[in-house]
């Protein structure tokens, strides 16, 4: 089975990053400077997610390909 070409950007990985940052923030153990830099990083990641979701939302049709032997 040929391997899927690795995507440079992946929604799930990005979401996982954001979830990780949120967990860190929830722990309340980060110094304020780290809170701010983590926040910035999460905002960037969420922006990418937003763009991804918006693109999907704007697509009204499926990309259908029929496989033939």
């Amino acid at each position: 089975m040929p391997k899927k070409t690795p995507d440079p950007w992946n929604y799930e990985t990005t979401v996982a990053t954001v979830e990780g940052i949120i967990a860190d923030l929830e722990s309340g153990s980060l110094p304020l400077a780290a809170v701010l830099s983590q926040f910035e990083q999460a905002v960037q990641a969420l922006q990418q997610c937003e763009t991804y979701l918006q693109e999907k939302q704007q697509q009204v049709d499926l990309l259908i390909e029929t496989l033939a032997d």
């Binding site: 089975m1 799930e12 954001v18 923030l25 926040f39 905002v43 937003e50 979701l53 009204v60 496989l67």
Partner: protein, 413 residues
């Protein structure tokens, strides 16, 4: 009972009838094949009795017959009631009745013959594949959380394919769908479905596969009980979701699939998450991140504020002010002290000076007194220290005299 032939044929003593019949009963009823046996035959007679349904199963080819009974308590569970003239397939146990020395089949299940055979084959295949572990829950793969590409195996003409497209278009627009066409009805269906699944596996892009077929009578769905199809599903390198619309029990394909949805639409929805849900989750994350960061900032702010308040409470300004006043007081004391000392010293020197003035011999002499010195320049203060004729020096306010002592007058007491 270890060697019945020997026991019966060569026993020197004859058996009682009861012993023989008991022996026959034991032989028949202990046989595992006869304890649970499927029999195909035609119902040649049927007698519905209060205790149960007594009927005769006849072999149309040989004319062989066997009596059978379905007890009242079992009748509700029978798929079909034996009716004279019908071909049936019955599951039962052979029982021996010593009183009449007869045997009969106690029936647990009766199926119509055509379907019954099929059902029997289905059951046997199901047992065999289950024993191989093809349906084991621990081998079920979980579906990818967010597949980018999915494959659909169905007939291009089937309503299922239309349903799936409609669902996906609404559920997750923009999805990449690989359609692998297959025949899903008739004798060629199993091979066609297997080929379609293998085509998807070879292509390698899809992350999940939907095998779908819309509705239909159970005969039309036979291919989903086909061993080749079931194995193709179990061996598929990516998770398989079945959406085989049907009313009856699950097909073997459903059992082998990683997820079994009952309709093509349900399969489509199961295969990919709803975009709307993703968007919701995204918004929740955005809000949570905002809240958390704001909380942190507010905490930090209130901390700074609290520290400021504490700093203010220490009233440093007041203490500085107090120190300044204290210093001023010290300075004033110092100046005052010095001034007093100076004045006192001044007064003292003035007093000394005036005192000294009064003691100055010149001053005394000026007032008309005279100083008398002898030759040795020593002051003469007593008449006894001089002798008559001695020369003395007398100092006046202006100039001095040299005098000679002519007479000495000792002091009067």
């Amino acid at each position: 009972m270890t060697n019945p032939e020997f026991t019966v044929a060569t026993a020197p003593t004859a058996l009682s009838v009861g012993g023989l019949v008991d022996y026959i009963k034991a032989v028949l009823e202990d046989d595992p094949t006869l304890r649970q046996v499927w029999v195909v035959g035609e119902v040649s007679s049927a007698n519905n009795h209060a205790k149960g349904l007594f009927f005769t199963l006849t072999d149309p080819d040989t004319g062989a017959a066997i009596n059978a009974v379905a007890w009242r308590s079992q009748q509700a569970r029978l798929t079909t009631l034996p009716t004279v003239g019908e071909q049936v397939i019955a599951l039962g146990t052979v029982k021996v009745y010593p009183q009449r020395s007869s045997y009969q089949l106690t029936v647990w299940q009766v199926l119509p013959s055509g379907d019954g055979l099929k059902a029997l084959r289905y059951r046997q295949l199901r047992q065999r594949l289950a024993a191989e572990g093809l349906f084991d829950p621990e081998f079920k793969r979980s579906l990818p959380a967010l597949p980018q590409t999915i494959a659909v195996v169905s007939s291009p003409q089937a309503a299922a394919w239309g349903d799936i497209q409609r669902s996906l278009r609404h559920h997750h627009p923009g999805l990449h769908v690989l359609f692998s066409p297959a025949t899903v009805q008739g004798d060629t269906a199993p091979a066609s479905i297997v080929a379609a699944i293998e085509r998807v596996a070879r292509d390698g892009r899809a992350e999940v596969l939907i095998l779908a077929r819309g509705g239909g009578a159970s005969e039309d769905l036979e291919c989903f009980d086909d061993e080749r199809v079931v194995r193709a599903i179990a061996n598929c390198p990516i998770p398989v979701v079945t959406g085989i619309g049907h009313q009856r029990d699950e097909s073997l394909a459903d059992l082998a699939a990683d997820v079994c949805a009952h309709t093509p639409t349900a399969a489509a929805i199961a295969a990919v998450p709803a975009l709307a849900d993703l968007i919701d989750a995204h918004h929740q994350r955005v809000a949570l991140l905002k809240t958390l960061t704001t909380e942190h900032l507010l905490d930090a702010q209130s901390n700074v504020h609290r520290l400021g308040q504490r700093l203010l409470r220490t009233r440093l300004d007041q203490r500085v002010q107090q120190q300044i006043i204290h210093l001023k007081q010290l300075k004033r004391c110092l100046v005052q002290g010095v001034q007093v000392e100076m004045r006192q010293a001044g007064d003292r020197t003035a007093a000394l000076r005036s005192h000294l003035m009064t003691l100055d011999p010149d001053t005394v002499v000026k007032r008309g007194y005279a100083l008398v010195r002898d030759e040795a320049n020593q002051l003469v203060t007593q008449s006894s220290s001089v002798t008559p004729g001695q020369t003395l020096q007398v100092q006046l306010a202006q100039g001095h005299l040299t005098v000679q002592v002519t007479e000495i007058h000792p002091p009067k007491d």
